[in-house]
Amino acid sequence: MSEQASSRPQNRAAPAASSKTTRTAPAQPPASATGPEPSVDRYLATVRQFKLRRLYGLLVLSGMLLVPLIVIYAKGWWRLTGTGSVGSGWVFVGIGVVIAAVGAVAVDLVYRKEL
């Protein structure tokens, strides 16, 4: 369940009110004198849970990327791509790729921690 879908669980792919580029404020439940409505809290809790699930999904996918890179390095198959190829570089680049992608989700978790 995505952040976008969870905001309108009753709809099946319902059209949104605004475009991504015009960036108008989305419709929100009315504020009350006692604080946010319970539905807002539910929405925020769902978004928080979804971001963690996104992180788990990315970690599994990153593992799936690193395994073949390690196999290629261990078996020396990297030589197939050319004489100037750097075998250990494949694994290091793979680790760097994973750190960068997971870092983006980590930035999201920290920077938007109120969500």
Binding site: A13, T21, A100
Partner: protein, 342 residues
């Protein structure tokens, strides 16, 4: 009698919503940039392999085969695993049979043509040259979205940014003598083909922004990749008999299957994080320009540093100039913002 001091009122819900929207845009730009290296790892390897056996038996069939047999199947597998673990498979399932799913077919056709054009161009001019040019799709998508969404992107910083991109591409092209495997008319045709990819991907960039207004990004993406898998394989096996020989060799060679896993899973990471979430959060202009410029720069960078393509400083310098141009396009000067808010 003691007077009670009222608690300081916090920001109203609309204010909080606007602040959250701004943060979401900035985070989308971070996603678009940090997923870039994954695309470089994947398509850099594809660009090198497309000129090796069995893909060099016949071109452009070999380029078609590497997309249909390695990149997309492993990409669909990676996206499916991500969807299962993250729970977004429910979104993909809910789209099935809904009228809006026709939009995913439209995007899949555009994405497939772009991917195929990239592989053909990589066989002709190499990934180190095709990468930076291919990254211009973000600008095409920004222009299309700017026109269709009536977003005012025409300001002095955009014009300087576009000039920077032009100069950057000119410098990158001067490195073609070193990094391109072909020269003369073949190199020229390769550049035309990658321009075709830029236009098709540019339209996909806009279509993602429009589609994620209607559908959750990850569920939308799975259908786009899955339909590309069906279309690519059906067309390839129907139209190119040599592809059957190539398919037999690819699927019986553990080396090529392992390389395919790197290409497909790396592509999947970029598609999820950089392309779809980046554009869904930051919009076609900011998300698209950053995903394109960063992701495709890394194809060139990894090609000449890790995958053994001869080093060309022109490619690096040109790409840096392109970064500066892209930064000017996606940033909004303080004076412009103040006028806009007023």
């Amino acid at each position: 009698m003691t007077a009670t001091t009222p608690a300081a009122p916090g920001p109203s819900l609309p204010e909080r919503s606007r602040a959250a929207d701004g943060k979401k845009t900035r985070v989308g730009m971070v996603y678009a940039m940090l997923a870039g290296p994954a695309l470089g790892l994947a398509l850099g390897l594809l660009s090198v392999l497309v000129t090796k056996p069995p893909f060099n038996l016949e071109q452009p069939t070999g380029a078609f085969a590497i997309v249909a047999l390695l990149q997309v199947p492993f990409g669909v597998l990676g996206i499916a695993v991500f969807a299962l673990v993250s729970g977004t498979w429910r979104d993909a399932y809910r789209l099935f049979g809904h009228p809006v799913s026709w939009w995913t077919l439209f995007v899949a056709v555009g994405g497939f043509v772009g991917d195929l054009c990239y592989a053909v161009a990589a066989a002709l001019i190499g990934g180190a040259l095709a990468g930076p040019i291919g990254g211009l799709f973000g600008v095409v998508g920004a222009i299309i979205s700017g026109i269709l969404y009536r977003e005012k992107i025409l300001r002095w910083s955009t014009l300087i940014g576009l000039a920077g991109l032009g100069i950057g591409i000119w410098v990158v092209l001067s490195g073609g003598k070193v990094v391109s495997p072909t020269h003369g008319i073949y190199e020229f045709v390769g550049i035309l083909v990658i321009v075709g990819a830029v236009l098709t991907w540019g339209f996909e960039n806009f279509a993602i922004a429009a589609g994620t207004d209607l559908m959750p990004a990850e569920g939308f993406l799975w259908w786009r990749a899955f339909l590309e898998l069906i279309i690519a394989n059906a067309l390839m096996f129907a139209l190119f008999p040599v592809a059957r020989t190539m398919a037999g060799r690819v699927w019986s060679d553990p080396k090529l299957i392992t390389f395919g896993a790197v290409i497909g899973f790396g592509w999947a990471i970029w598609m999820i994080m950089g392309y779809y979430i980046g554009i869904a959060y930051a919009g076609a202009v900011r998300g698209g320009v950053l995903a394109g410029t960063f992701g495709f720069f890394f194809i060139a960078f990894f090609s000449i540093t890790v995958y053994g393509v001869p080093f060309s400083s022109a490619v690096i310098i040109g790409s840096v100039v392109m970064f500066v141009g892209a930064a000017l396009i996606v940033s909004e000067p303080k004076g412009y913002l103040a006028r806009k808010r007023a």
